[in-house]
């Protein structure tokens, strides 16, 4: 599959070179350019939580050889930074280093409860084209939401897929809920720390306990609780 994708990419590259060459020595004959095979996808993410702002979205368009995370597996350093501190830069840089990744991008900023952010991507679609995206629930230690490897290559123009996204626990920081460890407005504390202080595998998040439910060291209150799902993500092929 991976091999085939590469071959197709090479084929496209060779064809484009040939077209450039033809154009370069064009002496007036009509050289018909094939229509561009590019597709544009619009990603809209809506924050469905009551009081958990979402950090700027990190999004990756890729083929099958990339995974942003897997349940039961240790988070990458980039995912740890995204989930603990809300910064998608290293997560996206890791993705960009993968041969199966076609495009990476960042959302427009913090997505407040009830708000929607939109990101668009243009690429040459393959049947197995996938979308991965992630964003932190910032009033937590290391909770994030998003989608991992949603196939979008089968969308025709005008079609869309809607996903109700789960909250995940990156497993890289203990869920102490103390002010110094919560980077969002509820805590104002530190985000990313390199040490891995939890079970070190990604799982579905078990929710926050909060001081209103007996965790006396928690800076969170009952308003910061959440249930699944925490976000709605709609991917539409618009071109």
């Amino acid at each position: 599959m991976k091999g085939r994708t590469r071959i197709q990419s090479m084929g496209v590259a060779i064809m484009l070179s040939a077209l450039v060459a033809l154009n370069g020595c064009d002496s007036g004959d009509d050289v018909v350019m094939p229509p561009a095979q590019e597709a544009t996808y619009a990603v809209a993410i809506t924050n469905l939580t009551g009081s958990q702002p979402l950090s700027p979205l990190g999004a990756v368009v890729h083929n099958s050889g990339y995974a942003g995370w897997e349940i039961g597996i240790s988070a990458s350093s980039g995912l740890e930074r995204l989930a603990e501190g809300g910064d998608p830069a290293v997560f996206l840089a890791e993705a960009a280093g993968n041969a199966d990744v076609l495009v990476t991008g960042t959302g427009g900023g913090i997505i407040g409860p009830g708000a929607t952010d939109n990101v668009e991507f243009t690429t040459v679609p393959t049947q197995g084209l996938r979308l991965t995206c992630a964003t932190m629930l910032v009033n937590t230690n290391d909770a994030f939401t998003g989608i991992s490897g949603l196939i979008i290559g089968d969308l025709a123009v005008g079609e869309r897929k809607r996903i109700y996204a789960l909250p995940y626990d990156a497993g890289t920081e203990g869920n102490t809920e103390t002010a110094s460890t919560i980077p969002g407005p509820a805590g104002g504390g530190e985000g990313y720390i390199a040490e891995r202080l939890d079970r070190d595998f990604v799982s579905v998040h078990s929710g926050v306990v909060t001081r209103d439910d007996g965790l006396v060291t928690s800076v969170l209150d009952e308003s910061h609780r959440f249930l699944s799902p925490v976000a709605e993500i709609v991917v539409t092929r618009i071109r």
Partner: protein, 238 residues
């Protein structure tokens, strides 16, 4: 050769006119992943069966043998109900408890039975009578990979006291029989008395507390809570 082609056309024609429903795939691989952060699954029962059979149904009282699974993690009763382990009834594919983040894989072959539905059950530990369940999924008729997410259910048969009692287990005996993560407490005063909904229902989750030696619960609110879904099932149909 010729005959095969004719048969092929005949089948195609039936599909075109919508007269035939595709038969369910006979050979399945079923991969079950524990999605939780701190809850263990007791040995899983994964079975294909006919459309009249149910391991459980939301809104209906648990059978005695489902209760045995939900309170004690004991599959023997349900396996017996299903006629024993065979090509499409698999008990304990993980060889023991399934830890958070872990995956169990079972092969299900309905060639000789023609069974059309897939169900699954295992107890959630540590809970009083919580279980992860799948009730009568229609087995896909087209080869491919299908992903499903499962909820945690409450069997409705035992009070959610959240008190550990590792002295043994039998249906009707109060208490949580084990905390496989070794992170259970003692000395709790008890969280809940009898369930108000005594039918199978979506589990409301555990409460826990932060005092391992006292408080109301022997569970830890920072470890033993969960949100749905608790499991992912990937069915690969051949």
């Amino acid at each position: 050769m010729k005959r095969r082609i004719v048969t092929g056309w005949f089948v195609s024609a039936l599909f075109c006119f919508g007269l035939a429903v595709p038969l369910p795939a006979a050979q399945l691989t079923v991969a079950v992943t524990n999605l939780t952060n701190g809850i263990y699954f007791t040995p899983l029962l994964i079975t294909a069966h006919d459309n009249a059979t149910h391991l459980f149904q939301g809104g209906a009282p648990a059978t005695a043998n489902l209760r045995l699974v939900a309170e004690c993690g004991d599959l023997s009763g349900l396996v017996s109900d299903l006629g024993g382990e065979d090509a499409d009834t698999v008990a304990d594919p993980a060889g023991g408890v399934l830890a958070p983040g872990a995956t169990a894989v079972a092969g299900i072959d309905t060639t000789s039975t023609g069974n059309t539905r897939l169900s699954l059950a295992a107890m959630l530990l540590p809970t009083n009578d919580g279980f992860v369940g799948l009730d009568s999924l229609e087995i896909p008729g087209t080869p491919g990979t299908y992903v499903f997410y499962l909820n945690g259910y409450d069997a409705g048969t035992e009070a959610n006291s959240e008190l550990l009692d590792t002295s043994g287990c039998s249906p009707g005996m109060p208490g949580i029989p084990a905390a496989p993560g070794g992170d259970g407490g003692t000395g709790g005063s008890g969280v809940a008395s009898a369930d108000s909904n005594t039918a199978v229902h979506v589990h409301r989750g555990t409460l826990g507390d932060t005092d391992p030696a006292a408080g109301t619960s022997d569970l830890d609110s920072r470890i033993h809570r969960w949100l749905n879904p608790v499991a992912r099932v990937v069915v690969t149909a051949q």
